[in-house]
Amino acid sequence: MTMIKVDHLAVSYGQGDSLVRVVNDVSFEVSEGETFGLVGESGCGKSTVLGALAGRNRQWTGSIRIDGETIGQKRSISQLAKQQMVFQDPFGSIHPRHTIGRTLLEPLEIHGKDNRQERVEKALKDVGLPLNFRYRFPHQLSGGQRQRVAIARALILEPRILLLDEPTSALDVSIQAEILNLLKDLRDREKLTYILVSHDLAVVAHLCDRVAIMQNGGFVEIATKAQLLAGTVAHPYTRVLMDGSRGYVASKRPVGVAAS
């Protein structure tokens, strides 16, 4: 079943003379339980696509269908709960002066959910944190634990879709492995659909079934995981990104032209 269907999506910021079109005519479909990756350099519009899907950015044209419903510029509260975001930096995305329990309660209050205590406990359990963490403050947690809290906060509204914006790029390699494993387990257990934004193709290839490679606000290619692993991608830009995730390639030719 198709969970997300996006047709000719274009997103812009600003208005009048300062109007900037950041995403240009992007179309894709994501089935239920699938993980779809968005890869590209900074400024290519990958987070903006997530923003439009999450309802953070309303300045878009085209059509978005989520879980069979056509989404308008303004969403109902139940439509908003259907997809939740996890941000890159767990140091910046959690309120520093609220306890973890308070942070997790907030979405429940906004969405008027009942059984709040049980839901908070379940969310903490789902991400593998001890229940007494609800009385702690973010600064008493490590980076990996904070990212687990961010995932718990996204899961607490029982969404069908998680929008993951560079969920592991602020974390160390060993912690990244834990979070990626957790995301995999949660997806299989809760039948979640993911859209994962990252600049690291190795991370994307690990978690995703299909990957869209973005450049200048558009897709240059949608590659399957098998294509990425076999190295049979079509577009040269995808190859550049693949080499990048393997490390440094010493070049014999005189190097590159200055970027402006």
Partner: protein, 282 residues
């Protein structure tokens, strides 16, 4: 791999301690290594003390920090006892440091050209005119196409990749013999990173320098450096030739390698690093 005959830097049994209200924190413990005319990578997770090592070599620690070592020798200078005036002529001229994010490490209210020329004017007492010539040549050397224009730009007017190339030219203009690069490409995109690294690579080879490359990125360090030092909790757990990293012996290094998602060796679940308290004992 054959060890180069001359060492630019020798560090023996270095420890760095920070006194805090709740007792002394030892950030670096009994670290020994040496750097010749080669590229040495220091890998570690956040908090492993890799940046502290770099800063201690430059003597850039806050006054309350206690740096202890049996030996801390840079060329003919004993970095443990050298007076501060002597350090002034070492920093920037004989050892220089490239930092992570050019956005924060360049002076925002000075033009790029002025900042680069400042180094030569200070260290070599050359005229402004000559400094300008040297700066323009250096900018050209790091593949900046229009050095005349870039000279008068402010840091906010250049891109991240260009900022980092400016940083490199600033650090190399006084021809140091050792460069400490602390995560020099972590703030850059993959394609730009490649460009910046090959410039750094060329310059290090061309001028026959020593480079200490501090990073958390295993793939990057193993493909860029000659030797790799792996740090864990302030200690060096293993030193190994970059090409042999796959044969690393220490369980921590092995754990890090296995925790890394890879395009070449895909696996269903990533291995989670199990930290063994025994690693903390040398």
């Amino acid at each position: 791999m054959l060890k180069p005959p001359e060492n630019i830097l020798t560090v023996q049994n270095m420890s760095v301690e920070f006194p805090t209200l709740s007792g002394v924190v030892t950030a670096v413990r009994n670290v020994s290594f040496s750097v010749g005319r080669e590229k040495v990578g220091i890998i570690g997770e956040s908090g492993s003390g890799k940046s502290t090592v770099g800063r201690s070599i430059m003597r850039l620690q806050p006054p309350q920090a206690i740096v202890k070592a049996d030996r801390l020798q840079f060329e003919d200078i004993n970095l443990l006892t050298a007076p501060e005036e002597q350090m002034l002529s070492v920093r920037g001229r004989r050892i220089s440091m490239i930092l992570q994010d050019p956005k924060y490490s360049l002076n925002p209210v000075m033009t790029v050209g002025e900042q680069i020329s400042e180094t030569v004017i200070l260290h070599e007492r050359v005229s402004r005119k000559e400094a300008r010539q040297r700066t323009l040549a250096m900018l050209e050397r790091v593949n900046i196409r229009d050095p005349q224009r870039v000279f008068d730009l402010y840091p906010h007017e250049v891109s991240g990749g260009m900022g980092q190339r400016i940083m490199i030219s600033m650090m190399l203009i006084a021809s140091p013999s050792l460069i400490i690069a602390d995560e020099p490409t972590s703030a850059l995109d993959v394609t730009v990173r490649q460009q910046v690294l090959s410039i750094l690579d060329d310059l290090v080879t061309e001028r026959n320098l020593g480079l200490i490359f501090i990073s958390h990125d295993l793939n990057l360090v193993r493909s860029f450096c000659d030797r790799v030092i792996i740090m864990y909790a302030g200690r060096v757990v293993e030193t190994i030739a970059a090409a042999d990293l796959d044969d690393a012996q220490h369980p921590y290094t092995r754990g890090l390698l296995n925790a890394l998602p890879s395009l070449d060796h895909p696996r269903d679940r990533l291995e989670v690093l199990r930290r063994d308290p025994a690693w903390l004992e040398n």
